[in-house]
């Protein structure tokens, strides 16, 4: 395969007495969807924050298109072309949709905000995602959870990113909206973007991801190609044992009537 667009190696991060990440490796290629999996507390969020520049790593190397780079601030990551959509969306409730879409990268003309250009581009972008919202000038507080998720994802696309990182994008969505978001992820992949998908939903992961990277207790616990890996293998890596509640349960379900034995 080609050179990874983003590659992390030997990443370690400590919070006080807790070693949140130790010697973690991770990479993503252009046009690839990589699922980042792990149980609660496995270090997924910490790794996301390292990549996004919110909490820089204590040690380790980040390579961008093969070159070593420093990502110490969110703006560093943005400038490289890494867009992050957080679980809590990070929208400003008091600002309208256009203002939120362009937050931090407002378009200006002769020093003044170019509201016209921003609204026009926002409308184009939302049309291209088949999203219909009555007015782009209502505060984001008035939107539903699904609409807010779409706005958050749309925002990340305005900066023409090369890597998009989605933290639990479907957690709060209904069936149709989840399908919409998954379609969107596939569209991003087809456009040659690297997509990092953090999810607990194995169905979503199997539906769109090419690879699954599993973290366990802050360490790498496996890197699987989705198409040649079974559900049980991934769960085993996440929980750290072949004998885990999930595979026991699915074993029972597969052979009904053997629970008593």
């Amino acid at each position: 395969m080609t050179q990874p667009i983003l590659e992390l190696s030997g990443i370690s991060k400590r919070f006080g007495a807790v070693q949140a990440l130790s010697d973690v490796h991770f990479h993503v290629h252009p046009g690839e969807v990589v699922a980042l999996l792990g149980d609660n507390g496995a270090g997924k969020s910490t790794l996301v924050k390292v990549i996004a520049g919110v909490n820089p790593a204590d040690s380790g190397v980040i390579l961008w298109e093969g070159r070593p780079v420093k990502v110490n601030r969110p703006s560093d990551a943005q400038q490289l072309g890494i867009a992050t959509i957080y679980q809590d969306l990070a929208l400003c409730d008091n600002l309208d949709i256009v203002a939120n879409l362009f937050l931090g990268s407002e378009r200006t003309a002769v020093g003044v905000l170019d509201e016209l250009e921003m609204e026009r581009r926002a409308q184009e972008l939302l049309d291209s995602l088949s999203v219909r919202i009555p007015s782009l000038r209502v505060p984001v507080a008035s939107l539903s959870g699904g609409q807010r998720q779409i706005i958050a994802i749309a925002r990340s696309l305005l900066g023409d990113p090369k890597v998009v990182m989605l933290d639990e994008p479907t957690a709060a969505l209904g069936v149709a909206q989840t399908a919409q978001v998954l379609d969107l992820i596939e569209r991003l992949r087809d456009q040659g973007l690297g997509v990092i998908l953090i999810s607990h939903n194995m169905a979503d992961v199997r539906a769109v991801a090419d690879r699954a990277v599993v973290l366990r207790l802050g360490r790498n616990a496996g890197d699987f190609r989705i198409e040649d890996t079974s559900y049980e293998e991934i769960v085993a890596a996440i929980t750290g044992a072949a004998d885990n509640p999930v595979s026991r349960r699915s074993g029972r379900a597969a052979v009904p009537g053997t629970e008593e034995a």
Partner: protein, 417 residues
Amino acid sequence: MAQQTTGTAQGAQVARDPRLIVDDGTPRGLLSGALRRLRSGELGSVPVIVGLFVIALVFWTLNDKFLSPQNLSNLTVQIVAVGLMSSGVIMVLLLGEIDLSVGSVAGVCGVVTTVLAVQYDWNEVAAMAAAVVVAALIGVIHGTIFAKVGVPAFVVTLAGLIGWQGAQLYLLGADGTINVPYDGPIGYLTQTYFVPAIGWSIAAAAVVLYAGFTFYGESRRAAAGLPAKSPTEIVARTLLLAVPVLGGVWVLNSYKGVPLAFLIFVGIVVVFDLVLRKTRYGRMVFAVGGNAEAARRAGINVDMVRISVFALASTLSGLGGIMFVSRSFAVNQSTGGGDALMMAIAAAVIGGTSLFGGRGSAYSALLGGLVLGAISSGLFLLQMDSSVRFMITAVVLLVAVILDAVSRRSRRAHARG
């Protein structure tokens, strides 16, 4: 999305959504749209303007001198010092923080100006400029301690309130009072009135510029296929601006003319309004006030925004302090002290800036300042003392805060943020 809307229509037709209630261009449509927004809690400046009319009506009934050009002209100069401090407070309130030091900073700046001009014989303009720089530095100190060290703004500026008042007393020394000449630039600040022609030209220019820019902006929007205001609405808005502006100039011109001090204050308010609404910086201030973490993740330098806002607040307070000195031709131990701080914060809140952050406008300083100025001027005419003024001001402030809280709840219920 809660309401599933399959995007069958494509292209320009998608821009309009059938669910969106659009005001038709007729005056009746404009009126019903305005009423609908009021009901859903978007009160804007309406309560304070209604309040201003009620106050004017009550005092005018009790003493018909209240609406005389002389009294109104004096009122516009009286509110300038506190109004400038209030403009600074608004910036801080938009961040969802508070600045308790504005009164002390005003005092210390008044003293710096006077000491440099009188005791060190500086040019008065240079002395004022130096004092404003000192004020800005004070604000940078407050902002840095708040943003970088993480001490709550309330505590940082409480320390500032006490500390800078101490500095003011120290600089004044044993004398306690320093007089400034009547006929220097400092004195002229609040004594200068423009001849009627200048007042009329400024007012006409303001109205024409507003109408021109609004029309230009809306026709560009219409040309780009975006929802735009109808010509009727532009005319209505221009009239709503023209009546108070031209009426105000007419009243001021029937006494001595438009006062320089009031013009400075209004000019600063207008500039701040444009900065807040039309520039990236203003957008950053609102974003930090709405959700600081979201702003940080969007790549906004939150610390820089916070420090600069505190610097601006102190700078404006410093200007307010100079206005105090100019009006009384002297600086003393109580300059910027007493009720100045509380009035500055009250004016901002009465004017409609939310205490909860992220919501408000620069015009709050002007409107709130006029309300408080009208109350004190009216009670002065009725020969009531401060006791009554404080009690009435308290009630007005409480009503304003209650309106803020209620409209906030109503906005939630109507899903308007």
